[in-house]
């Protein structure tokens, strides 16, 4: 049973211009996104740059103004309470940022950085706060002598771990991870991903994992949504998307992932070119006359694809 639903989320930015600087057009950054989140699951949000995946994450947590749409959290409509200090929603939904360095105040010590959510949401005494911070450091596998250090004294992987420690400080139900490992090296990335899985198993967290790296998403996520121009083109379980992609955009995206088998590279190149040619040829069938993605239609219990009715009958 899902504990959180998002229905028909829209984030539009006005484009101003003309004589009186009136709104002449809109950018549809997020356009009618509907999602559900279950406990302990990881949801992947994949798309190219500019597809609106980060905006979706920010709108959910309240860093972005929502044009229309509702967010329900444990049965309650929390759309307008996203930034209220006293709401449970604000405490239970936390975020991990891509660039951990710029997400931390350079003039604060680790102690204060980790204490900030605790001071905001939990009324703890000084001793309790200290104890909790030490617990947090133990969770992310760092020693206690880092408490008085500043963010710049850490490496990228360590900073990302501190970012995670800060996000889990108030025992959240869900963490929105916006490209948490894209800035990290391969071996450090492995560390952070393992670690995210560990705390998920331990605390039953849900993740909304936003990434452009389809390899990482495949490794991490149970459910995946592919986004294009602010709309979902395909959603489904990991197997639905990777084994049985239906939308031409998904196929194109999957065929472009570099594979680590050099011996099959020429075959893959041919497949890729086929898909690309197909994409150029059949594109119009998958987008309406304005280049917009069609609404999602179910093709199985878990798998939804954005297709026009005519196309769907062909399957």
């Amino acid at each position: 049973m899902s504990f959180m639903q998002i229905s028909d989320l829209n984030v539009h930015y006005p484009i101003r211009g003309g004589f009186f600087n009136t709104v002449i057009d809109k950018v549809y950054a997020v356009d009618g996104v509907t999602m559900e989140f279950e406990k302990g699951k990881t949801y992947g949000l994949v798309g190219e740059s500019g597809s609106g995946k980060s905006t979706t994450g920010k709108a959910i947590i309240g860093l972005e103004k929502i044009t229309s749409g509702q967010i329900f959290y444990e049965g309650e409509n929390v759309t307008n309470q996203r930034r209220k200090r006293d709401s449970a929603y604000n405490k239970d939904i936390q975020m991990i940022f891509q660039d951990s360095h710029s997400s931390m105040n350079p003039r604060k010590r680790v102690l204060d950085i980790l204490a900030e959510p605790l001071r905001n949401f939990m009324k703890l005494s000084d001793q309790e706060e200290r104890k909790r911070i030490k617990e947090l450091l133990a969770i992310v596998g760092m020693s206690e002598d880092v408490l008085l250090k500043y963010p710049h004294e850490f490496s990228g992987g360590q900073k990302q771990r501190l970012g995670i420690a800060r996000a889990v400080a108030c025992n959240p139900k869900m963490i929105i991870a916006d490209e948490p490992v894209s800035a990290l090296d391969l071996s450090v990335q492995a560390q952070v991903l393992n670690f995210m899985k560990d705390i998920q198993n331990e605390f039953g967290l849900s993740y909304l994992f936003i990434s452009h790296d389809l390899g990482v998403v495949k490794h991490m996520c149970d459910h995946i949504a592919i986004m294009y121009k602010g709309r979902f083109v395909e959603t489904g379980t990991r197997n639905d998307i990777y084994m049985n992609p239906q939308h031409i955009y998904t196929k194109r995206l999957l065929s472009a992932i570099p594979n680590i088998e050099p011996e099959t590279r020429s075959e893959r190149k041919i497949t890729r070119q086929d898909v690309e040619a197909n994409y150029q040829k059949e594109q119009h069938k998958y987008y309406d006359e304005h280049g917009k993605v069609y609404p999602l239609k179910s093709i199985s219990d878990t798998h939804k694809v954005a297709m026009s009715d005519i196309e769907r009958e062909g399957i």
Partner: protein
């Protein structure tokens, strides 16, 4: 215009020169003693060391690297951030701060030792014989110049083409890198183009004078996968047309598998393994390469734990200067397994591995040590 600037007639088999280079024993072993006849090699790097000055002492970011690049070949240099791969690239083309940087060793291109060149000589090479593709296309382009002018700039310095001919060449280049409507794009400014288009422009600039060597420093890191695939395919096509030798610097092993012919893996300023691409992905030997390959999410089934390398990449000032530099990351391997002064050993034709510790290294779940 001369296409093949790498003079194939060059020959170091001059007795005096052989004497002079005999002390590069490491290199001689590598190439079976035949290295001095470098008819096939476009670029030969020998014992290159690049050091940066930090508080009066020089710290080597690239140490004792010997590599060669052949015509029509893609040599990939792989490593994590801070391993010295970009420093290696900038050392080749002399894009370093001459006050705080010391470069020793030799880089031979076309009978010239690039480390000995002055600025003027370098300027006639850069952009002309050696093209460079930068990671971030936006900062590599001048925001105040039109695309067409930027591409024509190199042509103006290095060729004797008339203005009219330059214009034609610009449009030809834009066409070549797959830009539709080149006339329009040539009149635009960088900010009007998308990331993929900008990278294509940067590639067009690098290719403008038909270089014999192309150095690409993370050319696709800032791009989406679909554009990345297009750019890699484009590089391959252009290479087959012009026989350019490409040095590809990247941290993405997927890209390496997609395009490279030969791979050199760097760790802490040294090349730890060098092999043809197939060999590297199927039969990697060095503990670092193997751990790295094993930490790719793709190689694992879902929900499985990823391989993690213990410890961290040491920073420049704390690099271990003696013994095996990777030993601190694999502490369970006995010190006697490492060489005191690790060298590259040829364990199969064209496959070099540094140090001997790989014989004792095995990943979790494997039996015994690695065998040849």
């Amino acid at each position: 215009m001369c296409l093949h600037k790498a003079d194939s007639g060059r020959n170091y088999a001059d007795a005096k020169l052989i004497d002079k280079y005999n002390y590069f024993s490491d290199y001689l072993i590598k190439e079976g003693g035949d290295c001095l006849n470098t008819a096939n090699d476009l670029l030969t790097i020998r014992n290159l060391t690049t050091s940066f000055r930090i508080k009066e002492t020089y710290h080597a970011a690239v140490e004792d690297v010997s590599l060669s690049l052949k015509k029509n070949e893609v040599l990939a240099i792989v490593g994590e951030s801070g391993c010295g791969k970009s420093t290696l690239a900038t050392s080749i083309v002399g894009l370093y701060n001459t006050v705080n940087t010391k470069v020793t060793g030799e880089i031979f291109y076309n009978n010239q030792n690039l480390t000995q060149l002055n600025d003027e000589q370098f300027n006639s090479l850069r952009g002309n014989h050696i093209g460079f593709i930068f990671q971030d296309p936006l900062s590599a382009l001048n925001p105040l110049m039109r695309i067409g002018e930027q591409i024509a700039e190199g042509l103006m310095y290095h060729t004797k083409l008339s203005k009219q001919q330059r214009q034609e060449r610009v449009l030809e280049l834009l066409n070549q890198v797959g830009i539709t409507k080149p006339e329009r794009v040539a009149k635009q400014f960088p900010h009007q183009l998308s990331g993929g288009m900008r990278q294509r422009v940067v590639i067009a600039i690098a290719l403008s004078c038909k270089p014999s060597i192309l150095i690409a420093d993370e050319p696709t890191t800032a791009l989406d996968v679909t554009i990345q695939a297009q750019i890699l395919d484009l590089l391959k096509v252009l290479q087959s047309e012009t026989e350019t030798g490409i040095i590809l610097i990247t941290h993405d092993l997927g890209v390496v598998a997609e395009i490279a012919d030969r791979v050199a893996v760097m760790y802490a300023g040294e090349v730890v393994e060098e092999a043809p691409v197939q060999e590297l992905f199927t039969n990697a030997k060095h503990p670092y390469t193997r751990s790295l390959l094993n930490s790719i999410p793709q190689t694992h089934s879902e929900n499985e734990r990823l391989e993690v390398i213990q410890g961290m990449v040491p920073s420049l000032m704390n690099l271990p200067r003696e013994g095996c530099r990777f030993s601190a990351r694999i502490p369970w391997i006995d010190a006697s397994a490492h060489e005191r002064n690790p060298q590259l050993h040829e364990i199969a034709p064209g496959h070099f591995v540094r140090c001997t510790c790989w014989k004792h290294f095995h990943l979790e779940g494997e039996e015994g040590g690695g065998t040849v």
